[in-house]
Amino acid sequence: MRILLAEDEKELSRVLVTAMHSIGYTVDPVYNGLEAVEKANQGVYDLMIFDIMMPVMTGIEALKKIRSAGDQTYVIMLTAMSEIDDKVTGLDAGADDYITKPFSLKELLARLRSLERRSEDYTNDVLKFGDITLDSSEQRLESFNSISLSAKETKLLNLFILNANKKINSDILIEHVWDSEDDIDRDTLWIYISYLRQKLQSVNAHVEIHGEKGGPYQLINTNGGNFNDSKVSL
């Protein structure tokens, strides 16, 4: 992970940089809000950590500028224990999380690991189930053959694989796959289920979607008929 750290206390910055380096992260340390904005404009980071009270420009102001430029990078604010308002302003200004000072290095590193796991799950989005492989970023389904999927079909199959063998109600599928403003009913869902079924068949997959029109639907590995064989791997 590439991290931008804005912390004006040199000693604390040095300790954090050393700790993050030691577990393989790349860190660019800056010492005030303005430098943070400049760095953020130039580079791509997986994470930014901003102290709030900094000279020249505060962490909150820097965050606002970065967000208004369209940057959606995950940002953690470092706030003092007593400053409830700072947490609120920070989150409202577009921060994703905060850590209260003083904090233990152990906790910070654990949070970074957690964040890394999560972002990996989202970017390394190749899912396998039975004899199928779903590449969500390429929107491609593969088995003995390969075929393209639409964005919705990809999301739907992704959800099915992550919840394989579960009977899932139509409403839950619709809620997870379509935006709330989309006017989607069970008939439309049925069409998408039908597309996916035919596409699974066309790549010769031993994976089927069971269920009648109206749901619930269930993704099943039909290879050998043994549910224990179906393995989800990320």
């Binding site: 491609r140 003995f144 390969s146 075929i147 069409i191 039908s194 066309s202």
Partner: protein
């Protein structure tokens, strides 16, 4: 070189006869109130030059035996269908007619080639009134039939253009894009077939 020898005049006749039989099969479907089997048919007899090249490449004798018996695609017919279902309906009908026998089939639709090629290939042994290289009269001639959808057919034309242009830049990227395109066309074919089935669900 006249690799087909005395059999050459029969080849275009057989091509036309088989196309006529396929067209009759199609008409029978329409008369039975079913949708048409195919969108169009193309037939060709392999040129003698191509056949010589192929026999040399495969190590077959440069004779009518090599060209008509070892090689089985001197006569080729392509059936281009609107929908995937029609491809399989045509295959099923061909397996039940009395004028030919399916001797070999390759399903590159369910198992496409690594480059993305999709098509269904049949080798038919067709009964004809003409003499054949094994001295049988009437003889049985081999005919290769390729069945595919319009989308698969357009893709194959594009791939053909790439294959025969040797001075192509970024051929690796183009190959990758062609594969991706094949997957997208397959997706459309399956989608159209699904919609068609949904329309006729309650027929």
């Amino acid at each position: 070189m006249e690799i087909y020898g005395e059999f050459k005049p029969y080849l275009s006749k057989i091509r036309d006869d088989v196309m006529k039989k396929l067209s009759d099969l199609n008409q029978r479907e329409i008369d039975n109130h079913k949708t048409k089997l195919y969108e169009h048919l193309i037939g060709r007899v392999k040129t003698e030059n191509s056949m010589v090249e192929k026999c040399q490449r495969k190590g077959f004798p440069l004779s009518p035996e090599g060209a008509l018996h070892e090689c089985k695609d001197a006569i080729g017919i392509r059936i281009v269908c609107n929908f995937i279902d029609d491809v399989y309906r045509s295959i099923d009908l061909l397996k039940h007619v009395d004028w030919c026998e399916v001797v070999k089939e390759k399903d590159y639709i369910t198992r496409s080639k690594p480059n993305g090629y999709r098509s269904y290939h049949l080798i038919l042994k067709v009964n004809t009134p003409y003499p054949y290289v094994d001295d049988c009269t009437p003889g049985c001639y081999f005919v290769e039939v390729q069945l595919r959808t319009i989308a698969m057919d357009s893709w194959a034309s594009l791939e053909h253009e790439m294959k025969y242009k040797h001075t192509i830049e970024n051929s690796e990227q183009i190959g990758r894009e062609l594969k991706r395109c094949a997957d997208q066309l397959a997706s459309c074919d399956v989608q159209m077939q699904t919609i068609r089935q949904l329309i006729h669900e309650n027929d």
